[in-house]
């Protein structure tokens, strides 16, 4: 599903070069649930942005779902983000002026689906996250957990092959965290590949495979789960 080889990402200012990703190589198979941990500033989010085609990289190769996405136009990258990838963010990133229904509708609009097809997908997705009754609520009228479920519904409606989750439970309490993790596990069981960045060891534990990023490199790859959990 996701294969990076020797990917390097450097942030440059006039005086400083910061190597956010350093010869990063990684392979994630279809249907895997991978957690990515690492200290702050280690390059987790940069990795996720590059993986999600939200950011470019300086060298290396990247194949996503069998397609070389190393050098694509903005339009092509946008199309792949829209059709293949789903994002879940720590701060939910719902559009505050749109109600739940319209928030879930956003990626479908950019896909150019007709109204009936969009409505069906949105209703199904909201049903899967248990928010059918809140379709016409604004995000500000929902709890944090509910907002994150809307964000997940937004992903589900698009039926992506790959979900990239950046600290999806970072702003939630433990009960909500469990709820969201349960939901992600159910989605993964359905066949969707998930790559999740997290600081939470319990969440990382629930992935089928754990990775560790340090100084822009993937380390501890394929290490036993117990070792990672102890860090």
């Amino acid at each position: 599903m996701l294969e990076m080889r020797n990917v390097t990402k450097i942030y440059r200012t006039e005086s400083i070069e910061t190597h956010a990703l350093e010869d990063l190589s990684l392979s994630v198979g279809a249907g895997e649930f991978v957690s990515v941990t690492g200290p702050s500033g280690s390059g987790k989010t940069t990795f996720l942005n590059v993986a999600g085609l939200l950011d470019t990289f300086d060298s290396g190769t990247y194949h996503l779902a069998g397609q070389d996405v190393s050098r694509l136009s903005d339009r092509e990258m946008s199309r792949i983000r829209n059709s293949t990838i789903g994002f879940i963010f720590q701060s939910f990133n719902l559009i505050p002026d749109l109600d739940v229904f319209d928030n879930v509708d956003v990626p479908l609009r950019y896909r150019g689906l007709n109204a009936a097809s969009r409505k069906r997908r949105i209703e199904e997705a909201l049903g899967m996250v248990g928010l059918s009754a809140r379709a016409h609520h604004l995000p500000s009228q929902l709890s944090g957990g509910q907002q994150q479920r809307v964000a997940i519904a937004r992903v589900l409606a698009g039926d992506p092959k790959l979900i990239l989750a950046d600290e999806p439970t970072g702003n939630l309490d433990s009960s909500m965290t469990r709820e969201i993790m349960d939901l992600l596990e159910r989605i993964n069981v359905g066949g969707t590949t998930i790559v999740m960045v997290t600081h939470n060891p319990e969440c990382a534990e629930r992935a089928t495979r754990q990775l560790h990023v340090f100084d822009g490199r993937i380390v501890d790859l394929e290490r036993p789960r117990a070792t990672l959990a102890g860090e």
Partner: protein, 437 residues
């Protein structure tokens, strides 16, 4: 996608109505001023007969004496009107599709004493082709016949105001009007007709209304009708009788032709040249061969009919629109950049940079069009006000051409104000904003 952009733009505009009103007001002010002054300029510049561009000409011949040009200070000048005999001779030319000599006189009308007192309006003498050349609109009847020209018959065309004055506005075709000591049969009543410039005689009172009454030109000699308009002469010959007046070298007839096509102008010019050469053999036309075929816009320019300042004001008003649009750039930039977090989410969810750009351009174009509509309404009011102070103010109004110009200007104003902010907002890398929201 366009519909979604439109919905998104409308939501965004509704989100902050005061800011939206400010933006619309800024564009409206610019459109109002620029449309008003562009319309004023347009009134003076446009061809009043757009379907006949390059085919309708005012004819002049240099029949002046050899000692000096028509205007002493301008050696290239040419007499502004024709002699009667030249007008009669030009009528023999078969090239024009339509042609008419023309001049103004003043005659007493004697209405039914129960309706109105006698009064003395201007009367224009023309051939029937006049009405077709200038596309004069009729509400009842029409021009008199060719036979009425040739005989000539005592027929008359009156304008709408005269018809209302004499006949209460009803269909008066067939009714009789007593003019001086003769009865004229009404054959046509004009629809209200107020061209911006009195195109049939631009050399005199160009901004005045057209004449209210028209009778056949060929009454001139039998009835010995003297003109009340301008005349000029160069030959110091005493004129005591009408016959002497008609035979003189004085110029007092305006002459118009409508050619079958633009290409005929060359052939007609050749005909005029050979006519002048023939007249030279008879001892007339002492100056080098010269004639002028001038279009109506050409005459407007030649007679400097556009008031000083109108052209300059129209340019200044367009600059004002540009400045008022540029002033909005800062406001829009602030508004759009504040929306970067939302834009970043949309980018993550699959919106391309181009889609984000067009979403914002559509938003500013909605502002531009709304500003255009308000601006057009305001400029209509301003033009009406301006028209009250102008002799030809009735004609100062937004026509379909100017509405299109105003719409175009509002679209351009929107683009001036919005393209840079839209480009800035779509250029922001989405990854920078998603984490920090």
């Amino acid at each position: 996608m366009f519909r979604y952009h439109l919905e998104t733009a409308l939501k965004s505009l509704k989100r902050n109505p005061i800011l939206t009103a400010l933006l619309v007001g800024g564009i409206a002010l610019g459109i109002c001023v620029s449309t008003a002054f562009t319309t004023l300029r347009h009134m003076y510049e446009r061809d009043p007969l757009p379907g006949k561009t390059g085919r309708v000409f005012y004819v002049r011949l240099d029949s002046w004496g050899k000692d000096r040009a028509f205007k002493r200070e301008d050696p290239s000048s040419i007499p502004d009107q024709l002699t009667y005999k030249d007008a009669q001779n030009l009528l023999k030319c078969p090239i024009p599709r339509r042609q008419t000599p023309s001049f103004i006189t003043a005659k007493f009308i004697h209405p039914d004493p129960k309706v109105a007192r006698p009064y003395q309006p201007n009367v224009r003498l023309v051939l029937r082709d006049f009405f077709d050349i200038f596309e004069v609109p009729f509400q009842y009847g029409g021009p008199w016949s060719k036979e009425a020209d040739d005989k000539p018959e005592q027929v008359m065309v009156i304008d709408d105001a005269t018809n209302r004055k004499l006949f209460g506005g009803e269909d008066s075709v067939g009714r009789t009007v007593r003019m001086e000591d003769r009865d004229y049969r009404v054959v046509g009543v004009l629809a209200p007709w107020r061209p911006p410039l009195r195109m049939v005689e631009l050399g005199r009172n160009a901004e005045g209304p057209p004449e209210p009454i028209y009778i056949p030109f060929n009454h001139t000699v039998p009835q010995e009708i003297w003109l009340t308009g301008n005349n000029s002469g160069w030959k110091p010959v005493p004129i005591n009788t009408f016959a002497e007046w008609i035979a003189s070298e004085r110029v007092w007839i305006q002459y118009w032709v409508e050619l079958p096509d633009a290409a005929s102008a060359g052939a007609y010019g050749d005909w005029l040249r050979s006519y002048i050469e023939d007249q030279k053999k008879l001892g007339r036309f002492e100056r080098p061969v010269k004639y002028a075929l001038t279009t109506i816009p050409g005459l407007i320019e030649e007679f400097h009919l556009m008031p000083e300042g109108v052209k300059a004001m129209s340019v200044v008003s367009l600059l004002f629109l540009a400045v008022s649009s540029l002033n909005l750039v800062g406001i829009l930039l602030g508004k759009f950049l504040a929306r970067i977090p939302e834009v970043s989410v949309r980018r993550a969810l699959g919106a391309s940079r181009a889609q984000i750009f067009w979403q914002h351009v559509i938003e500013v174009e909605l502002v531009g069009i709304a500003g255009g509509v308000v601006g057009i309404l305001l400029s209509t009011a301003i033009l009406r006000l301006l028209g009250r102070f102008m002799a030809n103010g009735d004609a100062l109004r937004l026509d379909s051409e100017m509405l299109l110009v105003a719409f175009f200007l509002s679209v351009v104003a929107g683009l001036i104000a919005g393209v840079y902010p839209a480009w800035r907002v779509c250029s922001v890398p989405p990854a920078m904003q998603l984490k920090v929201q």
